[in-house]
Assembly symmetry: D2
Homo-oligomer: 282 residues x 4
């Protein structure tokens, strides 16, 4: 017998810009939105019956229409409203709205911050998601992506096992560079999302800068634990850190010493360390 | 209390090319390999103790060294051997080796296929993975990515519910285009991987071309079911199909009819339909 | 004094798909089109006067409208017709239409090639451009991009000068890999473009496979010269070949020899060799 | 007769990171460098004679070795030194070193800016190039890339000609968004590059924010002219501005008005406006 297993569908890469035109200055919101639904969609697959299939084009329209009335606060709130809307349809059992927010800041001019001209900031992307389910509150997560960081001191890697394939020397001082992705789950669906995001991001960067790293694994634990310790609203943090190796260039053929100064930055291959840090039941 | 949850680590984007120099012709294997390990790595996180941490650099070395002796057959076999090697280390509970194979074909020349010059084929990427675990046989999966397809007939989308946000007209004839990703799990760890891959790919393309599609959901089911029906070695197929919309251009302002001829190809936004088709226990 | 220098403008990334529905089989044309105009656009810049500025939106509409009636042959012909249209406007002195053609082939099925289902081929992208000017015939160019090739024999690099910064050993046998870009200019605006493209591509691949390469520079010359020798319609060939280095992996730490078998494929850094080969006036 | 035309070669994508470890804080320089040479390289092409061919691997080594001693100031200065080195070789007639600088800023922590942890800033990429030639001074250019900007007011597009393919309405208020690329040439090879870069960038942003734009063409002129007026060291500015269209979403089917609030951001197709603004000989 052949059966349908897990399935979901939706619309991805919905590019939404909202401009709010206050008298003294404009505000720009720029989001890439994805909607994904799970529920009673078996007949669409196995019978070719679309009676339950909310068109993904309708999802896109819904996002734009809801943005007009409901996108005046954090992405988390907007996501929860849109997810809640789709859950009103009886065939939907789980609705997830994922948002990536691209940040624009007023252009600095000789006369102060511009009121209607903006610069897109590339330091990081803020992410959020809201998952509405039949039983229980909406699950809200937030995160950060595209946060590229480097520690030029207080990072080493030693004490690891050696076998016949091991050539890496032990070092007590190396460059650690990564493009951090972090996602954290909140324990409630009604919080001050902007303040929490700023707080968690601040903690992450503060600890990243300050800690001594014996490995990327340890760094994830130290940062994740600090986030949970300092932010009671956060239940769990998931992090994925590529280890973007910077190799010291051998300058001896050129009659030069390389005292930890000259490196070649690489992306292939890279280490990839992933871990979850969470509150335990105990 | 704060605790470590799920975690894994490894090396990604290991770029490996192997050239075999037979007297009458060369052969090129070109793989992007990733290794990921799970196991007893708690102390690395929480204690900064690297005694159990196989360096990801060692993983890279291992892949290259094993390629010399063991990469003479399908990627699945090579992956299983490398995964098995890492499982020999007592701290490892699960070792996954993922491979993406980039295909090179001899350049056609006036004198026949070249013996030592190759053209990289971009029609699709073959994928494979082998997961070795403490209990039970190695799990082998295969797949296909970057397979971009289009149906110019026998695809429609109608009968879907309409609400106040629905503007999409029902159509019995549309263009369906997608960049197919499919992964299938085999029921055994010792099979004729190349023949199976060719067979499953053939079934996928054959059914894709021949079936009448009332929705992408239905297409996934029809293709997945056919793969399971025709290939007893396959236990489960997971597919993800973006719906790359092609919108008919309104030519009436220019005094022209568009009889299903002129389309604008788009990638943003896109539908995204994901489903698993599997053998049921019953 | 401050003045306007060289300037041009247009529409880029116009994504056009045309489906022709013959009774026995469909045909798909898939083009990315760019239009660029030069001419009397000074007032638009310096006076803010748009009276001469054909909107880039109009260019896009024109491409779609012309595709309905005029895209039934090679991209070169379509490009020349569209370029000629824009040159009819008195303010335009030069109109360039550039086209990248994405190739779709019928899906092979158990019953033969499909009549209405297609697979996008990624082996290379065919390019074309037509530049219409006030005086003289339209200049037509064609080209090939994304053609990734590898020679596993008959490629070396030796005899180069050595200075204090030179560490590269001389080799008489190396892997040469590249992602070839070639553009060639035709001597007439009315030729059998499809046959010529196939011919030039065939020559390029044939010579690439067959020649002995002492350097990428030499390879470009040998391929370019052959194209000009074998195809009288071609006046000039411009080629750009990145040298995608494949470095032999040192396996001696693992007790293994690497007899030209195991390589790491790299993209950063890469050599980049560019040259023009042309018919001389003499 | 067939002859060699224009040709050049070099090394691209050299990834260089330099860490300077001052007692009170570290500094990170992160550059992607390309070297390109022109000169007497005919024999390499036509004779397969590499006697004049400085290996691109040697170029890479040279960049790293020179970085140790000479990368302690602006990228322009480093580029000029490296370009000058290659011009010392008699076969080289023109040496161009191009640099893209990726900016890192100290991570803000609770205790102030970190001394050894950095965040990569993505707001823009600073570029520079130095071209050393046999006769005359080295030509230095600087530029900015990846600068993504948006004007939500004071931008319109009207007064353009209408033909049968024109459907775009005239608007006196639209969103103008672009990913600005600008390159400017200096009149001297010995200037305060960092101050000049900051100054030109400041002017570009200031004018971008403040001016009223009747077209992208006009915006380029206004910004370019201001750069030349305010910065006597700059001889010429070349700019390329894609017009990243933001289309107002029609919300009327949903019973809503869209008063310039809700937009769909697009990248395909896009306008592309390029122009040079320069000092005239007169």
């Amino acid at each position: 017998m052949i059966e349908l297993g897990a399935n979901r569908y939706g619309k991805a890469a919905i590019r939404l810009v909202k401009v709010t035109r206050d008298p003294d200055r404009h505000h720009v919101r720029d989001l890439t939105v994805a909607v994904a639904l799970e529920g009673d969609f078996r007949a669409a697959h196995t019978e070719g019956d679309n009676a339950n299939v909310i068109a993904t084009d309708t999802m896109k329209n819904t996002v734009y229409a809801f943005a007009a009335d409901h996108l005046d606060g954090p992405a988390e709130t907007f996501g929860a409203i849109v997810a809640g809307h789709f859950l009103e349809m009886p065939q939907v059992e789980r609705a997830t709205v994922s948002l990536r927010e691209h940040r624009w800041t007023p252009i600095p001019t000789d006369g102060g911050p511009s009121r209607d001209a903006f610069l897109r900031s590339g330091d990081f992307t803020r992410t959020a998601s809201a998952t509405a389910v039949r039983a229980g509150p909406t699950v809200v997560e937030a995160g950060i992506e595209d946060l590229t960081v480097m520690k030029t001191a207080r990072s080493g890697f030693a004490g690891f096992p050696r076998d016949r394939y091991t050539t890496l020397p032990e070092v007590d001082d190396r460059i650690m560079a990564s493009r951090v992705s972090a996602t954290w789950r909140y324990g409630s669906a009604d919080l001050d999302w902007d303040a929490l995001f700023d707080g968690v991001r601040g903690t992450l960067l503060d600890v990243l800068a300050d800690h001594v790293s014996p490995s990327v694994q340890s760094s994830i634990w130290i940062m994740g634990r600090a986030i949970l310790e300092r932010h009671a609203a956060v239940e769990e943090v998931r992090m994925a850190l590529p280890n973007l190796h910077h190799w010291a260039v051998d300058l001896t053929p050129f009659g030069l010493d390389n005292r930890g100064e000259i490196f070649v930055a690489t992306t292939e291959p890279h280490g990839l360390i992933e871990a979850t840090v969470r509150r335990s039941a105990g």
